[in-house]
């Protein structure tokens, strides 16, 4: 199985053990991260690394706290969150619908599928300038960029998931008297769900990348803009705090989604 799937399997196994074992396990696993944090604190403090280039962890934490209190973290965070939710949400609605329909209705597939496969290797971030031309400097261009970038992975995984449904399942349902419409909703989509959800997880990661990239380039608000602004202003400890916040944001979004996915796919072995 792929590396990412192996890591996912490990996460699943870990979730099954009793709480104390899980906590100790988690602590042991986190130890290298803790080591890195300790190194981060000591090295700049004793001058091993230039503290202007890498502020010690303590001042980054302090700066982070400052950003939190003065509200800039929250307000920019909400803007970024909104962009991701809107862009990703739209791509899921349109993408899953298109992908499944393409798999189900052959004429649609013949036209759209080759185009889709050709466009897939297109670097999604290149669409950002067009979106800016079309939607201006505000959040709309970011949402449009995220939508455009996430659409294809979602469509593709929905299409592959729906196409890969075991024919015998479909035939059994039809044989039991279900209409084609019902089969689509009650057999095809649930069977395709694992692959669709995996595609959405992928799109989630892409949405974060596009959100940050777009906000860096032309931002007026949002976490990417905040980081850029702090960097331009030379406030490096706050800049690091911002970077860590966005990274943590991306990490937790993935973890939360993973839990959600595992719940939805409980029936899978």
């Amino acid at each position: 199985m792929s590396g990412a799937a192996a890591i996912e399997a490990d996460t699943r196994h870990a979730a099954a053990r009793p709480l104390i074992a899980r906590l100790t396990g988690a602590l042991l696993r986190a130890f290298p991260v803790i080591l890195v944090c300790i190194a981060w604190q000591i090295a700049p403090t004793v001058g091993l690394i230039n503290p202007d280039a890498l502020p010690p962890l303590s001042s980054v934490v302090t700066a982070w706290w400052g950003l939190l209190i003065d509200g800039s973290l929250v307000s920019n965070g909400l803007t970024s969150l909104w962009e991701v939710v809107a862009g990703l949400g739209l791509s899921i609605v349109v993408g899953v619908g298109s992908g499944v329909l393409m798999a189900w209705y052959a004429p649609v597939e013949a036209i759209v599928s080759p185009l889709m496969k050709s466009l897939y290797p297109m670097p999604k971030s290149a669409l950002i300038p067009v979106m800016i031309l079309w939607f201006g400097l505000g959040p709309s261009s970011k949402i449009a960029s995220i939508f455009a970038g996430c659409l294809l992975p979602v469509v593709l995984s929905s299409y592959n998931g729906a196409r890969g449904v075991d024919h015998t399942l479909i035939w059994s349902a039809l044989g039991l008297g279900a209409s084609r419409r019902r089969v689509l909703w009650e057999v095809v989509i649930p069977s395709a769900l694992p692959e669709i959800m995996a595609g959405i997880r992928n799109a989630l990661a892409i949405s974060f990348i596009l959100m940050v990239a777009a906000e860096f380039l032309v931002g007026q608000h949002g976490l990417g803009y905040l980081i850029s602004f702090l960097g331009d202003g030379g406030v490096y400890d706050a800049m690091f705090a911002g970077v860590l916040t966005v990274s943590a944001f991306g990490f937790f979004a993935d973890r939360v989604y993973l839990l959600f996915m595992q719940r939805m796919l409980r029936w899978r072995e």
Partner: protein, 263 residues
């Protein structure tokens, strides 16, 4: 459909379909542009964009930009490939390395590594070094993950056969483990290359200068929409060529592999 079952004609059929859908796409674009639902600025017509593309091609600007972008992408990619494979294989085979890097990799994988761009700019300046390192940093993760999994999941019985036939411990890695892991390692590389291109373009867009990313941002700032569209098409073509190239390399390198045989 008659004759589609033979591999040669099937390939031809698929290619024809691709070309047809490409033409349909550009036709739809042109029709929309001509209907003037959107202004010429928002959606320039196809001939205007292609004329621009041609103009940049002849003047040499386009090729120069492509070459620069590709060089940065490749250097970063090679760094990620070498480092990622070395690290992935070490994680699979050495307990201590695994203990240290496992959490770092799991945490790092879902993070938007592009967020670190300002840090890289702070440390390495606004020229090629920071771009290349940013590319390497972003694309190393999938390589590590696949190299790790590929080395870890080698068939136990094949390993035992090799041991029974007399392989010694030191040669085992090169003679057995790496060839066996190659399919999965190469998959990691195939995932990493498009990432490398995307990240490089974003870096160029952010830092400016020459290269496709810088050019497209310049055109955007000058509200030169045919230029922006022209560069998107150029970037899309470069992306497609890279992916296709990797597929061809895979087929030759892994000619022995199950998938290649059944394709």
């Amino acid at each position: 459909m008659a004759g589609v079952s033979e591999p040669g004609s099937r390939e031809a059929y698929l290619t024809a379909l691709r070309v047809a859908s490409g033409i349909a796409f550009f036709a739809a674009w042109q029709l929309t542009a001509m209907s003037h639902v959107f202004s010429d600025f928002l959606l320039p017509s196809v001939p205007v964009v292609f004329e621009r593309l041609w103009h940049d091609l002849i003047s040499g600007d386009l090729l120069y930009g492509i070459v620069l972008t590709l060089i940065r992408t490749f250097v970063g990619f090679v760094l990620a490939a070498v480092g990622g494979i070395a690290l992935g294989v070490s994680i699979a085979r050495i307990q201590l390395v695994r203990w240290f890097f496992d959490p770092l990799v799991s945490v790092g994988l879902p993070m938007p590594k592009i967020a670190f761009l300002p840090i890289f700019m702070l440390w390495f300046g606004v020229f090629d070094t920071s771009k290349v390192l940013m590319v390497a940093f972003s694309s190393i993760f999938p390589v590590i993950v696949e190299a790790w999994a590929g080395t870890q999941n080698i068939d136990k019985y094949m390993t035992w056969s090799a041991m029974s036939l007399g392989v010694d411990r030191h040669r085992f890695l090169w003679e057995i483990a790496l060839p066996a892991a190659l399919p999965q390692v190469f998959t990691g590389l195939q995932v990493a290359l498009p990432i490398a291109l995307i990240v490089d373009i974003v870096c160029e867009m952010q830092m400016g200068g020459e290269g496709m990313g810088g050019s497209i941002m310049t055109d955007m700032r000058f509200a030169d929409s045919p230029g922006v569209f022209a560069y998107i098409i150029a970037i899309a073509i470069v992306g497609m060529v890279l992916v296709k190239a990797m597929e061809i390399v895979r087929r030759r390198l892994l000619v022995w592999h199950q998938e290649t045989q059944t394709a």
